[in-house]
Amino acid sequence: MENILDKEIKGIIDAYPEVGKILEEYGIGCAPCSVGSCLMKDIVGIHNLDPQQEATLMYRIEKAVYPGRDIPEPKVDLTKKAAPKKIMYSPPVKKLVDEHVLIKRLLALIPSVVEYIENNVEVDKELVLRCVDFIRNYADKYHHMKEEDILFKYVDENAEIIQVMYKDHDTGRNHIRQVVEGAENGNKAQIKEHLFGYRDLLTQHIKKEDEILYPWIDRQLSDTQVGEMFRRCNEADASVGDELPKKYENFINKLEEKFLKEVVK
């Protein structure tokens, strides 16, 4: 069994597609992941299944990979704590989860923004650039920077899951560069492609963070680290001032107002 645990998940799923389906049944979405070089053992650890689930999952995967082998029924280690049902974040992590809410409100508006741009002869460059400004300064500078400079430093930065997060942040930045180029050139198709690309990417990214990554990091933090991280995040927030989050919340409120009205009309 050790050898499966030390293998990269992508390789296992490519060779045995059945394993991807089994993982999905447990809410572990590795099959569509862009990187997939997480080791099987990390995937099991990161998802914090209860011992019964974990043993059954590993049993089924081993059965799928080695159908001919005589595999013993799962032994359950009841000394391991079962996963709590509701996710409870520490205060600094909770603040990051709350910031996702404003970002998700922008993501929800992207289809309306794109439709509006498509239906007007001239590209509303200012509108596009204001969305870009939100994405660059709130989602990226204000939020992603705290993740990259503070949160991720509390765990092994070489862990595959962290590398995936860095890669997502970068892919997002590339999409936004393309959106800006589209706005400069009045290229509606380019704006559409990359705003939607950003939306799909960030939707998945935030879900991964809220449900998998953040709880995984929280489980590894000591109280001392929670206090320290809370202070460091507050200092980072203070360095940009109270105005910045307020300004962007106002922007989203106004944008929602504009497009909700459009819908009513």
């Binding site: 409870m88 974040y89 520490s90 205060p91 600094p92 909770k94 109280d223 001392t224 929670v226 206090g227 320290e228 809370f230 202070r231 507050n234």
Partner: protein, 153 residues
């Protein structure tokens, strides 16, 4: 006192004791004196920038591994929210721990009986008065010694 669940008489001397190892000597993890909240100065050196426990008087008698699992590496103040007087002073002291001694975190450990939750109110009251913000954790201990819940509040 008959209606108060916190003082209802219970006897669990028949409880099955698992065969835990009781051999060997353990070190105390206490690194300060005094500990009673009326007696401590919230600006004592042992509170500066530390992770602090605010513990209900009855807790360490119920929680067998209190030293190893909670006290280790932390500073402590103890109080009883039911019987102690002058609890406004407690609120001021919590505020001073947060603002003056700039403590890193505060963990309030209470018993499961309803009146013990008063200590969480003391902690919250002090935190609300303070200008600094810090993470506060609540741990609830059962009368038979188990940790019933542990959460950031």
């Amino acid at each position: 006192m008959s209606g108060c669940p916190g003082s209802r008489t219970m006897d669990f001397s028949e409880k099955d004791v698992q065969n835990e190892s009781e051999t060997g000597k353990r070190q105390s993890q206490l690194r300060q004196w005094p500990i009673q909240l009326h007696l401590v100065s919230p600006q004592a050196p042992y509170f500066q920038e530390k992770d602090v426990l605010l513990v209900a008087d009855c807790v360490p008698f119920a929680l067998a591994d209190f030293h190893k699992d909670y006290l280790k590496g932390k500073s402590i103040a103890i109080a009883c929210p039911k019987l102690d007087s002058d609890q406004e002073v407690y609120i001021e002291k919590v505020k001073s721990l947060i603002d003056d001694s700039k403590i890193n975190t505060l963990t309030v450990i209470i018993m499961q009986v309803p009146c013990c939750f008063g200590l969480v109110q003391v902690a919250k009251g002090g935190a609300e008065k303070a200008t600094r913000k810090i993470p506060i954790k609540q741990v609830v201990v059962g009368i038979e010694g188990g940790v019933l819940s542990e959460e950031w509040i």
